[in-house]
């Protein structure tokens, strides 16, 4: 078939980290690459590096209109689900999530399904933890760490990571040999915890815990148009500096690189095979009205696990069948440092990960758990106060003393502890969340280990304070279309080591759906590296 018969050589569905990472190796080559995306992008979302960036503390202390920042003009954030992280409620992030459930016809049971139709996808509001899967993590994959190494390096350089590469017990775990900017300065609580760890390293490691500095996709030095973090502590509420990596920032750069067209306002409703390629059925950005179609020789699906699963499910006609999906069950808990009671709230800081830690499983079969520690400065006291059993003014008075001495921790468990089911229907998606049978027991042993380990570090984890998050709250949905060396016997087709869907030449999946499984390490950076790898493979293919 001649080249002119297809609207483009390559269509990428989705503008999140996966789609963008797959695009880079392909631009500049003699290809017609089109990125299709609903691309919701309000005017206030661009980088505003020169605009005033009053710090969080200054805003709190002086701005009489700050309530608009925290709740929105319509106070919508006040009615949001109490357990949700501020990231999910911040009015500045409203555009990230709006319209997603409706566009996909999404319904859930015991599952918190979060997705995005925005330019840049969920990277508009992610936690920015950037960790590379190593060979242990890739045990279930038909690719090795060596296969991914060049991509890890390329992505790290492209997006800007900050952290430490050595003299740190988590550096190897997060990935060595990557370009790193210097780490951001730590909150005093984190510094204290880390110093204590260094003094008692052997004793703490004996409990199975390893602690080190976090590795974040947050700039400590300017990079292109993006500005370094200035410790304004607005990470959760909408930072305009561009310090936190967001795939949306790369779309314009991709266009400038040539051979690449970004087409927003488009929701891909279906992918159908045609002779020599695929036809994409397009709807408007809200997923409502049909607006046309696009033909492409090859299609890269990067719509996010939920979206890509829907497209492939309808393509193969596997409807109304529950399919396995993994995510990282999560637990959250506070760590109080009694030595720091009486401290004040710092004027400046950052609200992303300060420290990271890893907890061994109690035996060979139990995978490790991984978590990150955050400062509590920019968290609304109201949310914590309502969880305490005391009167509201009493709780607030207590938190006034406690919060400056606290770190908040999350802890993720491997995807093998999840047992979610996703069902594709003719017009929608249903997700039913569940934890595996061994989850409850694992959480108990984990809580004991963490309490003991942090106690050695001078940290108190109050009894009963650990909260298991709702299934899906981690938003690391994965492994519905897993990479397998040979076609599996699953309800949905798997993808080959080149992420091409088995039985469908030229159709690729590069988002979380293609992971063979998720360990307790956040998979985003690995997804990006894998997408970069696939982009390179396709570019080399030369068809």
């Amino acid at each position: 078939m001649s080249r002119g018969d297809f609207a483009c050589d390559l269509a990428i569905v989705g503008s999140g980290p996966a789609g963008v990472s797959a695009a880079w190796p392909l631009v500049g080559a003699d290809r017609r690459v089109v990125m299709l995306d609903p691309g919701v992008w309000p005017p206030g979302a661009d980088i505003d590096a020169d605009g005033s960036n009053t710090s969080y503390m200054e805003t709190r202390q002086t701005d009489p209109d700050q309530w608009r920042l925290f709740f929105g003009d319509d106070f919508a954030a006040l009615a949001a689900e109490p357990a949700a992280s501020p990231k999910l409620r911040a009015p500045a992030h409203g555009f990230v999530y709006s319209g997603f459930a409706k566009a996909y016809g999404l319904s859930t049971r015991n599952f918190m399904a979060v997705g995005s139709l925005a330019r840049g996808g969920l990277s508009n509001a992610w936690g920015a933890g950037a960790y590379a899967y190593d060979d242990d993590d890739l045990k279930a994959f038909p690719v090795s760490a060596a296969d991914l190494a060049p991509s890890f390096r390329a992505v790290a350089e492209r997006i800007g990571l900050s952290g430490v590469d050595d003299d740190d017990d988590m550096a190897a775990f997060y990935g060595r040999g990557l370009a790193l900017q210097p780490p951001l300065p730590l909150h005093d609580n984190a510094t204290r915890l880390l110093e204590r760890y260094r003094r008692q390293r052997d004793a703490v490691r004996a409990t199975g815990l390893r602690l080190g500095r976090a590795r974040n996709a947050v700039l400590s030095r300017d990079l292109g148009e993006r500005r370094a973090c200035d410790l304004g502590d607005l990470c959760l509420w909408g930072c305009r500096r561009g310090a936190i990596y967001n795939a949306a920032f790369e779309v314009e750069a991709l266009e400038r690189a040539g051979g690449f067209t970004y087409r927003p306002g488009v929701f891909v409703a279906a992918v159908e095979p045609i002779d020599g390629g695929y036809c994409l059925r397009l709807r408007d950005a809200a997923g409502g009205r049909t607006i046309g179609e696009l033909t492409a020789r090859r299609v890269i699906l990067a719509a996010g696990t939920l979206g890509s699963t829907a497209l492939v499910g309808r393509l193969v006609g596997r409807l109304d069948t529950p399919l396995a999906m993994q995510s990282n069950p999560a637990v959250a808990f506070p760590v109080i440092l009694p030595a720091r009671i009486g401290a004040g709230f710092p004027e400046r800081g950052f609200s992303m990960g300060q420290l990271g830690y890893r907890v061994d499983g109690t035996d060979e079969s139990e995978p490790y758990a991984h978590g990150v520690l955050f400062a509590a400065t920019a968290l609304p006291m109201a949310d914590l106060a309502r969880r305490l059993p005391f009167s509201r003014p009493g709780s607030l008075a207590i938190l006034r003393w406690l919060m400056p001495s606290m770190l908040l921790a999350n802890c993720f468990l491997a995807g093998t502890y999840s047992a979610h089911r996703i069902t594709v229907t003719a017009n929608g998606l249903t997700v039913e969340g569940a934890y595996g049978a061994t989850f409850a027991g694992r959480v108990r042993t984990l809580a004991r280990t963490l309490r003991a380990a942090f106690a050695r570090l001078g940290g108190l984890v109050p009894p009963g304070s650990a909260q298991v998050s709702r299934p899906g709250a981690d938003i690391h949905y994965a492994a519905t279309l897993p990479m397998r060396a040979a076609p599996g016997g699953g309800a949905l087709p798997s993808v080959d080591p080149g992420c091409s869907v088995h039985g469908f030449d030229g159709l690729y999946v590069v988002d979380g759906a293609c992971l063979s499984g998720v360990t307790a390490k956040n998979p985003t950076f690995t997804i990006m590296a894998n997408a970069d790898r696939i982009g390179r493979l396709i570019a080399r293919d030369g068809r």
Partner: protein, 425 residues
């Protein structure tokens, strides 16, 4: 009558006086108010204020053209030693009234009025009653007055039943005969219109006496929404407590109330009520209706603003900047919740009391409202000043403060469990 009724009132700032004056103004009655202070709830143009204190010589010109005198003021309510003062004041007022040919003189007396009453209050009332001899002079013996503004003895009882669902009951069997304050006020107005055609004495109270404990139980149900647990207090103990209370400043009057309860005897109000053609509402029904009416404010908007001011004061420990309270109301309206909660009236005057009413661990309407108020209070410069200190404050001080806070909150927990407001609207 062409010209409106002109009534002279003493004790207009008291419990019954406040209601009487409001009713009078509603009926277009012209008021002359004798007293030290102006009444709070009345527009200045509807009455004439004449400064006067019990024991003063009443200004004769105030009585000119007056159709009726309603004498409610009594010093011996506050201090029983003022029984003599009350008697002399009544003599003077009666003389002034007779001198100006005032047609009606109404003296509001009490069920406990008896020459040999156990309390100075009762004896004083009886002594004043004996002064009345001319036609048109009437003593209205009122039973236990209840309802309306929570003041006087009624107010004390309301506070009592709100604080604790465990009610210590003194004089459980005392035969009280309740009369609603509005009914009493209307009766006084009706009598004032009758000129000289009033009996010497009227007994106004429930025709069949009610045990005091039953009255308290009904009051508790209406005011706190819960069935109270009545704990009868033995008489000796009660008397001792009363005597002890009498030594405390300001509580001497309450001592007399308590002792008076024990000596209370029923009065025959049935005949008087029948002659007047007056049927008193049963007290529990009247209380229930009143509570229901109060729970639905005339202007829901104002109620939400008031709720906001109260909750903000509760959380911030002081009055919130104006914007905060209004923002609370705006937020609730934006979230589709324009109804205000029926917070106890006392909580609006003393917001700290809400600490007792937060049900532990519950996720009810109050909890959500508190969350909204806390979130908004926090997100303000005033909130930052209160909740977000930047200077270090010392570890020892922190531990001490935390210990104290947790201890106090721990003590509050059982009370909150008992008194917590659930989904009450």
């Amino acid at each position: 009558m062409n010209s409106p009724l002109h009534v002279l009132v003493t004790g207009a700032t008291g419990y019954v006086g406040e209601v009487f004056c409001r009713l009078a103004v509603e009926e277009g009655v012209r008021l002359t108010i004798l007293g030290r202070h102006r009444p709070a709830g009345l527009a200045p143009e509807v009455y004439t204020h004449v400064p006067y204190a019990l024991g003063d010589s009443p200004p004769a010109e105030a009585f000119a053209g007056v159709d009726a005198v309603v004498h409610l003021a009594a010093a011996s309510i506050g201090d029983p030693r003022d029984g003599d003062l009350d008697l002399r004041a009544a003599e003077d007022l009666l003389a002034a009234s007779r001198a100006c040919d005032v047609a009606t003189f109404l003296f509001v007396s009490s069920q406990s009025a008896r020459p040999d009453a156990a309390t100075a209050y009762g004896r004083s009332k009886a002594a004043i009653e004996s002064l009345l001899e001319r036609s048109g002079e009437c003593a209205v013996r009122a039973g236990l007055v209840y309802g309306g503004p929570e003041r006087g003895l009624y107010g004390t009882l309301c506070s009592l039943v709100r604080v604790s669902p465990l009610l210590p009951v003194l004089a459980a069997e005392a035969p009280v005969q309740p009369v609603q304050v509005t009914e009493l006020g209307r009766l006084l107005l009706a009598l004032a219109r009758r000129g000289a055609d009033v009996p010497r004495r009227l007994c106004i109270g429930a025709p069949r006496p009610i045990p005091f404990k039953t009255f308290l139980a009904g009051l508790a149900r209406a005011k706190s929404g819960r069935q109270p647990l009545l704990v009868p207090v033995p008489q000796t103990l009660a008397r001792l407590a009363a005597v002890a209370a009498g030594w405390l400043p300001g509580l001497a009057g309450r001592r007399d109330n308590i002792l008076g309860l024990y000596a209370l005897r029923p009065m025959d109000s049935a005949a008087d009520l029948q002659n007047l053609g007056l049927v008193l509402a049963p007290f529990d029904q009247a209380l229930e209706q009143e509570t229901a009416r109060l729970a639905r404010p005339a202007d829901p908007g104002d109620a939400l603003d008031r709720e906001g001011r109260t909750l903000m004061r509760y959380l911030l420990g002081r009055r919130a900047d104006d914007g905060l309270a209004r923002r609370y109301a705006a937020a609730l309206r934006a979230l589709g919740q324009a109804d205000s909660l029926a917070l106890p009236a006392a909580a609006h005057r003393r917001p700290w009391q809400l600490r007792l009413h937060e049900p532990p661990g519950a996720a009810g309407a109050l909890e959500f409202r508190l969350h909204v108020a806390t979130s908004l209070a926090e997100a303000s410069p005033q909130g930052a000043q209160r909740f977000l200190p930047t200077a270090p404050r010392g570890r020892l001080r922190g531990f001490a403060a935390l210990g104290l806070l947790v201890a106090v909150e721990g003590l509050l927990l059982p009370l909150r469990w008992l008194l917590g407001i659930g989904d009450r609207r």
